[in-house]
Symmetry: C2
Subunit: 136 residues, 2 copies
């Protein structure tokens, strides 16, 4: 937990128990959850937690670059602590998102077009190994 206190301090964010548990949740679960998933899971052990606070925490953490929001399927945002450069694979069947460790050298050429690059996202959609095994 010290770890998360440190992260918040480093970013001049006030330390609140809510922010800590959201941060911990994202760090310990690499499931790219939606805001609602985070809320429901944390609600169990923190009954007083409100959804607004989850959204507030996510916005704050995102602003400071601690977490990133990805938008991969439809109208919901998913959150992620970026551990190095990676892309995402989204399974159309089970909805799971797996990280894909991939480096695309060409992508660095982007700025040749004259645009200033700030974020690079890649996502691949398909059917994951597990769902393939289970058959369709």
């Amino acid at each position: 937990m010290e770890k998360y206190v440190k992260i918040l301090k480093k970013n001049d964010l006030k330390i609140t128990s809510q922010r800590l548990i959201v941060l911990q949740y994202l760090d310990e679960n690499c499931i790219h959850p939606t805001a609602d998933q985070i809320y429901s899971d944390l609600k169990i052990n923190n009954p007083s937690l409100s959804k607004t606070t989850v959204y507030n925490a996510l916005v704050a953490l995102q602003k400071h670059g601690i977490i990133q929001a990805i938008t991969i399927s439809g109208s919901e945002l998913r959150y992620d602590i970026p551990h190095g450069m990676h892309h995402h694979f989204y399974c159309k069947k089970c909805g799971k998102i797996v990280d894909i460790d991939i480096s695309c050298p060409n992508i660095k050429k982007m700025s040749e077009f004259g645009h200033k690059v700030e974020e690079i996202h890649g996502y691949i959609k398909g059917i994951c190994k597990e769902c393939l095994k289970k058959g369709s």
Copy 2:
């Protein structure tokens, strides 16, 4: 217009004036519009057009692979007639989306992970050339 009739026929879709104008709009405007943008623009010359119909048309066209939906910023879907393989550059300032003609050879290695790849999307976020010129 013949062109669009042909496309619909080829995909066993009934030819309706609404579908034709949506298709034409997407083909002639490479602006990756949202459903609402399409609706508002077409409404001017087609006052009886309803938003539901725009959504219906988009879903139908998407199902047949004629258009693709991309999800790049927040909670809105954008539509696109894919003219060959390309990625998208989203300007955080003006919201414009430009196509980026890029090929990433590594991405083909995806299936080595054992997942079945069906769609590959890439998006880059930043500030576009024009907005950079205008200064911040």
